[in-house]
Symmetry: C2
Subunit: 234 residues, 2 copies
DNA sequence: CGCGGCTTTGATGTTCATCAAGTAAAGTGG
DNA sequence: CCACTTTACTTGATGAACATCAAAGCCGCG
């Protein structure tokens, strides 16, 4: 769930309430080691966290806010692969396999990230067997998730895709049927592989049918069960 | 490259010439441990290696042949996610994150697989830090690859997809511009998200244009540079 | 105040899936 | 090994879904 926290950026990892469960298997000494090799920074809306092609020096972790992962297709069109929530890792897929970032990561709202030195992370994986198993599990899960999600999008018609996007925002990101979209129509289109025009067209359709209320970026889902049905049947 | 080997199924892993580089960081004792907890079996063409939903008990590794990973969409349509070559791991994505297989794996030709007990693998990851880093790297790479491939397919028109498929078979799987397809037209369609009718239509088009020779399953690429161009521009 | 980008709606065209029908190939049982 | 059945392959015709093009209204920002 996307929430706004007030965080003391200087605190140690030991008692950090924003820590991922991934670090639960580290003991106090190991957490201190991570703490000494990390850096917590605020990122303004629109600012770039990682740029595709830049060398990977850190293992980046989202504490607060929302960021998008995007990829530039050969035709120059941008595609949004995923949107990360707090406690998600950023650039995880490339981080252990490549020397440079695969995706460009940009903050959609004012955000806070932790940057852990990548060599320190590697060391930790080598030293702590349970930790390495947990990371392995985590990476596999994320990959599975992205692959499943990508296939889901491509097997749906346009109405089904928009329905899926709206339900995901309501359920996964905001925990409410009423929310403000953190992205433009064009970005919505980039997330679900369609044109901005058709995003708008179908939103208008849903509005006419009384399924949602749309006023600019503000969305209110009026008929969630019907929307879910459109997602599943599309 | 897909080759036919003659393998002694009973030999130890220690001197195995079919071993993945992934195991290079294991010492003799560890290789013996793996050997005692593995099983090498032949799989007939068309036979199922792993079935979606079955509990994961083994870490499966392709020694010889070709296998397809497939997924059943909600509409009941099958989709082929990837085709594994010798020295590839099978079901790798789910293996550390799930209790049961995500994909059904079927042999496309007579094949040979090694099945390593999953608990033994976990133990190895916990014990050997370098090995766990290598596995992490390997899994990340495969995931990256699948995601990149999936996006590539969906951003191309039908001609581009067929071109991509043919070039991949020639380059990655057979190392020759002349080869016999190990899959049916229907399976080709399942690989690149189109209908069997259109697969045939476009193959015929390519034949008329003198780009390929098609006789049933036998393919001969006559104009590789043009085919690559169609792939890149599609 | 005016410019440029984002949003919205309508009209048009292309691409691809679906349907139909026929041919070739590959199993299957006697 | 041959008749029979089933499955795979192939081509054409049609229609639906979606992208593209065009034009106008809206909003934020210098």
């Amino acid at each position: 769930m996307y929430k706004t926290y007030i965080m003391d950026l200087s605190q140690s990892c030991k008692n950090c309430q924003f820590r991922s469960h991934l670090f639960d298997k580290l003991n106090q000494e190991e957490l201190d080691f991570i703490h000494r090799n990390k850096q917590t920074t605020a990122v303004k809306k629109g600012a770039i966290v990682n740029k595709s092609g830049d060398p990977i020096r850190e293992f980046v972790y989202l504490v607060e806010g929302l960021v998008k992962f995007q990829k530039i297709g050969k035709n120059g069109k941008e595609q949004i692969v995923s949107i990360a929530r707090p406690l998600d890792f950023v650039g995880l897929l490339s981080v252990f396999s490549k020397d440079s970032y695969e995706y460009t990561v940009t903050a959609l709202v004012d955000s806070v990230v932790c940057r852990i030195d990548i060599e320190s992370m590697r060391k930790m994986v080598q030293m702590n067997g349970q930790f390495s198993l947990d990371i392995l599990k985590y990476i596999s899960n994320i990959s599975d998730e992205i692959i499943r999600h990508t296939y889901a999008i491509n097997s749906k018609n346009l109405r089904g895709r928009i329905a899926m996007l709206l339900v995901d925002f309501a359920d996964k990101y905001f925990g409410s049927t009423s929310f403000d979209l953190p992205i433009s129509r064009k970005e919505m289109a980039e997330m679900i592989d369609m044109t901005p025009e058709n995003v708008i067209r179908i939103l208008s359709e849903f509005r006419r049918d009384g399924i949602v209320n749309v006023r600019g970026k503000h969305i209110e889902i009026l008929n969630m069960s019907l929307l879910s049905k459109i997602r599943d049947l599309g």
